[in-house]
Amino acid sequence: MQDVRDALYIGHRSDGTLTRRPMSPHLQVYRFRLSMFLSIANRAAGVAAAAGAALGVCWLNAAAKGPESFKKVQKVTRHPLGKLALVGWTLALVYHFVAGLRHLAWDAGYRFEKKNINEDGPVAVGVTVGATLVLVATIFGLAACRSRKKAS
């Protein structure tokens, strides 16, 4: 027994033999719902946003350190894989923001009925995808314009 709480999971079958009752959450018994995905996605997005923030701090540090360090970081941010990571970070931040606003609304007692939550889920997905696309297009567009101006 790894955990004292395991003691509470011992149950009896109808024939009297002992069995270990399943621990919650026993995912396999539930039908897939959007709300369950959005819930765990918020947590995953939080972790991804945290990892991205650590990289963002590296960018900040490079800017403070000098032009040479900054160029090294720019090599990463201009590489296709670096760009992909930036898009992923944006997506994580936007979704964590949207889901966070929903949580704040729930905590204040709004939109917390099952009906509301099922209605708002697809809206949250739409807003996240839309806002991410707009942000990525705007930021990469601006970056491309500025570098072209400097080159010419």
Binding site: D3, A53, V57, L60, N61, A63, P67, L104, I139, L142
Partner: protein, 140 residues
């Protein structure tokens, strides 16, 4: 059974959990509340951050130094960094509490706290250096 031998059940908890000292340590509300408060503060700060990223996209180091030298920007950046890493620590603590059981819980929590604290501190120092003593010229 004689009723006087029955344990008094003033609280809805098992005698085992009371004896083991499990359950509320009476500090959970503060953690929950501070997570919410830092989230609320991060809403306008994130909006500001997005605008600044748009302003800085494609900038050279020189532009970033000029931007980071303005007191408004460095103050907002400091607030953003402190609150981001504080909120991060609170959030990751909940994840560890949920998934790491038994003995590894304490070392996992301490490691997470140490790492988030150090990266947060690093962020603050980077902002201060950018604001007060940035290197403009490439070193030889």
């Amino acid at each position: 059974m004689n009723a006087t031998h029955m344990p008094r059940m003033d609280v809805m908890r098992s005698q085992l959990s009371r004896a083991r000292g499990l359950g509320s340590a009476k500090t959970g509300v503060n953690h929950w509340w501070m997570e919410r408060m830092s989230a609320v503060a991060l809403v306008p700060l994130s909006g500001w951050f997005v605008l600044q990223v748009m302003r800085l996209a494609g900038s050279s180091q020189e532009d970033v130094v000029e931007w980071g030298g303005k007191p408004t920007n460095s103050s907002m950046l400091l607030a953003l960094m402190v609150l981001t890493f504080y909120h991060m620590q609170l959030g990751l603590q909940v994840i560890i509490d949920d998934y790491v059981h038994g003995k590894p819980h304490l070392p996992a929590s301490l490691l997470m706290k140490g790492v988030t604290f150090l990266i947060g501190l690093f962020a603050v120092i980077a902002v201060l250096k950018l604001a007060l003593a940035p290197s403009r010229k490439a070193s030889a």
